[in-house]
Symmetry: C2
Subunit: 623 residues, 2 copies
């Protein structure tokens, strides 16, 4: 990556100009020490002295990018410890174009009434005829603009109130936040700052953490960013992470990791959009129950033990700083409510976004992430269940899997002549396969008879099928120039089939329990971080979703973050989310007598019972 | 003061046994260093080593009372720096018998529903059939016992909730506090501690600070204590203190002083009643607006400047620790609402206690403290005003004035033969005169013609009238043995007359503005720290109150603290207080065209217009 900058530009600014977003919490003031980089030749740069580097680091030509300017052309390397992260962030520089921006603000459906607002108030100063105290005067003025029957003010705000109001002639901006039925005066500033109020919505995934930056004054998403969950070193699924935390007393560490990830996303978004962190007044999170517990350092241990209980399903809003989230120091952190230990607020967000809780007809909602949660119901009833699908469709545990970023194969088909056609995100040379590409691959291998109904490769069927390090593998893209080949292995396929089987078994349990037939389904909503262009028909082909006409199946992307944003922008949506979370009936699959049978039957492609999938035929079947 | 103790008893315990309550915040553990005393002969005691004494102090035979035991008879002196305070505390050892305990809990009038409660809850632990999250389980259990539609839980409570509940098999004590219409889970403890829940009600006077210790489980006052406000060095009235704070940027110092006073009272009460500070969950304060501002470090500067505005009249409850008050670290501090800059929450408490806001007939309420606030009205309307009476009737600015404690002359009369009869609190030898005694003195001197209608001594009238250091003075009690004489000086009388004139002028303005005649008054309620036995008739004799039959005048003592306790014990009383504060009409006397005239006329005894006081006749007048 090359970039030209003016003499005197800091390496940090130069990196940003080149699209490389280095961590820099202090905003380039030189006191956070996060923007360490290595310069090839120390004499090509000039650094201000700093106490944040060890003698060893200095010997290695490590400098703080924000405190260093180039004297001539210079090659800068991001240190190894930062590589993974920087690499991801680099990819994410383009990712926001492809991120789920579709489920935008439903301001038309729910009334626009954000959880945190900035309002400019112009009060008449006190006179001899009106000596109302400042605090009461403020409340009166706020209530002229918004509905706030029950108000609260923090002690620190109260202490500075009078001096501030007299200093600005009673023209001030009040940041107000909603907490249940109360309204808190979060902050007060002299003058009018009501035009700058931002929020970050976060999908706390077990594998991937996604953040959207929202302008609360205009109700629009202005940027997005994603990163892998850095807890992943402690276990691919959250059960393993809970065990790790218990065994190593690492709850704080687990919190630090996810908080760090969220902060990194926030800082990146803020830097890119030139927003001061103090202007971000709200963070709203949706995620599975365990991830919300980790974020807040609530005790998650009983999530994994019978009878599987959460510390809190409904988490009250707290000051974001209390959890270590770096936004406005008095800003609020909201978490959407969850249903049960294994059905989190991400699923509540999904039900909210798809609006199945308002429809007369029955809908099915399936969210394929590290787990596969399924909801069935309508405006009168909702049932839900969770299968431990595994993160295969998020690209994890798959040799060339990756999440939806530049270079990911997002669509793939095997043509009649046997050749493979694919499309990558950003149309660059393929570097891996994201969820939608994996779904296509599985369906196409099966449809073309390269793999049988049990998910095993049919040997000698195809020259692209070879023995690799990890057993049989199928070459999707040959090596070319400096690019490695891209393959899918038998182990990858086993992982993907297990995932789809878990989801379908869960769907079957819910449908049978409620005596719902496939033809009763008015719509199926498939959510997850597959990528942006999912061929929903393929989900039926592999037997992940019931066999209904393709027009009834809707790919809805990341509904977790879409729901979080909806709630962020409307108090009525939060009330709806609370109603959804409070009324959904949870089915515990682990203790369900039929689940294991259903799972074993669903491990076939599309299923052992082909009558369930009348529309699906593989080349092999036809033969 | 002499006391006998067992060998090995610490000097601190010995002092307590003798009724001398030395400050000791650490409870005798030897680390607060507050209980310094001087021993006459160091060889008569044995002290544990301590780092809290300077070499100078050691040379002066100063020891920590809690770390020192007597080896033989020993004389112990309280060091000069502690004298005033210790002397007060000594007096207060008996004061609680005489304190205003009459305005007790109006549990019969207002429903018993304390602002902070401890409730013991026994929940069913989760099962496979009931996996409600702990936080929601707790709310359900709380709502089975109390009405709490809107609940809040602090983040720290949420974080420890699950481990605590599993550890105590879901049997826990919850401390809940009311904040406006919301209910906060303040604390949660394993097991049943619901029988121990205490509160301290405080009257924040400009001159005197009074605290009552209340058992919230039984709704009874169990002890009381009082001290002088240690801000007094910075000015006798709060206007001077505000000026001092502004000129010396001493707002923090001002807060520290009053917080220190309150903490001293709390610690003294807790030690005496063997209550752990953590068991005190609530502090409730009433006081004038400036004192509440000082306590919370709200900006008080505009209280003294036109248009005379408070920072806050309605102060939301805060965590007591935020203001530096030493009770349970999550306990709450409430302040009653005030009406205006010069009519504070002590007056709202008075209106609440006397219930004049519920009566059909018109009542007059006058609270004589450092200021003299007056309220007139009934259930339909209330008007109020404040005169800067000065603290004369609290014993301040009067040569031998003192507040109501042991040895204070509380009643005095001049018999027909000219001899003086008096009664002291605790029936000890007189050491000074408290408010009720001063009122008697003034009235008796006037009634007996020793002083004329302008409040000047009539020279040569009486042998007890002599020229003292400060001009003419009248001897009330001759010197005897080691006791000094007790006199009242011309300057004392001038101060007292100014006070009464201010109050009466305020009453006249309110009555004339509302066209209320003396015969329209159904009752007069006189409040203040006069002492416990006030001859209300004397208040008419000197012209402080309108001339109505004595049976219509009620001395109601310290209604500030009585009202605070009422609110403490009943949410409905708090609502009533808020309604009172919000509906009272304030008359600004400083800008009132007639006030100065009324004041000048009231500087006579009883008044220039004798027709206003048909029942009052002095010996002189008769002659």
């Amino acid at each position: 990556m090359k970039t030209e900058v003016q003499c005197g530009t800091s390496l940090l600014e130069a990196a940003h100009k080149a699209g490389i977003y280095l961590s820099s919490i202090c905003g380039g003031d030189g006191y956070c020490g996060k923007c360490k980089v290595i310069v090839d030749h120390i004499e090509q740069v000039q650094s201000r002295p700093t106490a944040l580097l060890t003698p060893d680091e200095i010997r290695q030509n490590i400098v703080l990018a924000c405190q260093t300017t180039a004297l001539s052309d210079v090659t800068v390397t991001v240190p190894k410890s930062h590589t993974l992260q920087t690499c991801q962030i680099l990819m994410d520089a383009t990712a926001h174009r492809f991120s789920e921006l579709a489920g935008e603000v439903r301001a038309g459906v729910f009334e626009f009434d954000p959880l945190v607002q900035k309002i400019f108030i112009e009060m008449s100063p006190p006179t001899v005829h009106d000596h109302t105290a400042d605090h009461e005067r403020l409340y009166l003025a706020i209530r002229e603009q918004i509905d706030a029957p029950i108000m609260q003010t923090g002690f620190r705000i109260l202490q500075k109130l009078s001096r501030l109001l007299t200093g600005c002639e009673y023209k001030a901006t009040v940041t107000i936040g909603r907490r249940d039925q109360t309204t808190e005066v979060i902050e007060i500033e002299a003058g009018n700052h009501s035009g700058r109020n931002f929020a970050v919505a976060v999908d706390l995934g077990t594998t991937t953490v996604v953040a959207h930056l929202v302008d609360l004054t205009k109700a629009v998403t202005i940027d997005s960013e994603a990163t892998y969950n850095s807890q992943i070193n402690f276990g691919e699924d959250y059960i393993r992470r809970i065990i790790y935390a218990e065994e190593n007393d690492a709850f704080d560490e687990m919190q630090n990791r996810i908080v760090h990830d969220v902060n990194d996303l926030i800082v990146t978004l803020a830097a890119r959009q030139r927003i001061d962190l103090q202007e971000i007044t709200t963070v709203i999170c949706a995620g599975n129950t365990a991830m919300v517990h980790f974020l807040l350092n609530l005790d998650p241990t009983r999530i994994r033990r019978e009878p599987y209980v959460a510390s809190a399903g409904f988490v009250p809003p707290i000051r974001a700083a209390e959890a270590g989230i770096q936004i406005n120091k008095r800003g609020l952190l909201y978490c959407l409510p969850s249903v049960a230990a294994y059905v989190g607020s991400d699923i509540v967000a999904g039900v909210l976004t798809t609006r199945i809780f308002t429809k007369k007809g029955i809908s099915l909602f399936a969210d394929i992430g590290t787990n596969g949660e399924v909801v069935l119901g309508n405006r009168d009833w909702l049932v839900c269940a969770s299968s431990s699908a595994g993160p295969a469709f998020e690209g994890s545990g798959v040799k060339h899997g990756m999440r939806a970023g530049a270079g990911a194969i997002e669509r793939l088909s095997i043509l009649d002549d046997g050749s493979i056609e694919y499309k990558t995100i950003s149309d660059t040379h393929p570097v891996g396969i994201c969820g939608s590409g994996l779904l296509d691959t599985l369906a196409e291998l099966f449809r073309n008879g390269i793999m049988d109904r049990t998910g095993r490769f049919i040997t000698n069927e195809d020259a692209r099928l070879t023995e690799g390090d990890e057993g049989l593998q199928f070459q999707l893209v040959p090596a070319a120039n400096e690019h490695n080949e891209i393959v899918i292995t038998q182990a990858d396929i086993d992982n993907l089939v297990r995932s789809k089987a878990g989801v379908f078994a869960a769907i079957r349990i819910l449908m049978e329990s409620t005596q719902t037939k496939p033809q009763d389904l008015d719509g199926i909503y498939l959510a997850g971080g597959f990528g942006n262009f999912l061929n929903v028909r393929q989900a039926v082909t592999i037997g992940m979703l019931p066999d209904v006409p393709a027009e009834k199946i809707h790919f809805v992307g990341n509904t977790s973050i879409a729901g979080a944003k909806t709630v962020l922008l409307s108090r009525k949506a939060l009330k709806a989310a609370e109603k959804i979370a409070g009324s959904m009936t949870y089915f515990d699959l682990m203790s369900h007598p039929k689940y294991m049978d259903e799972f074993m039957m669903a491990k076939f492609l599309p299923h052992t019972d082909l009558l369930l999938f009348p529309s699906v035929k593989s080349v092999k079947c036809e033969a």
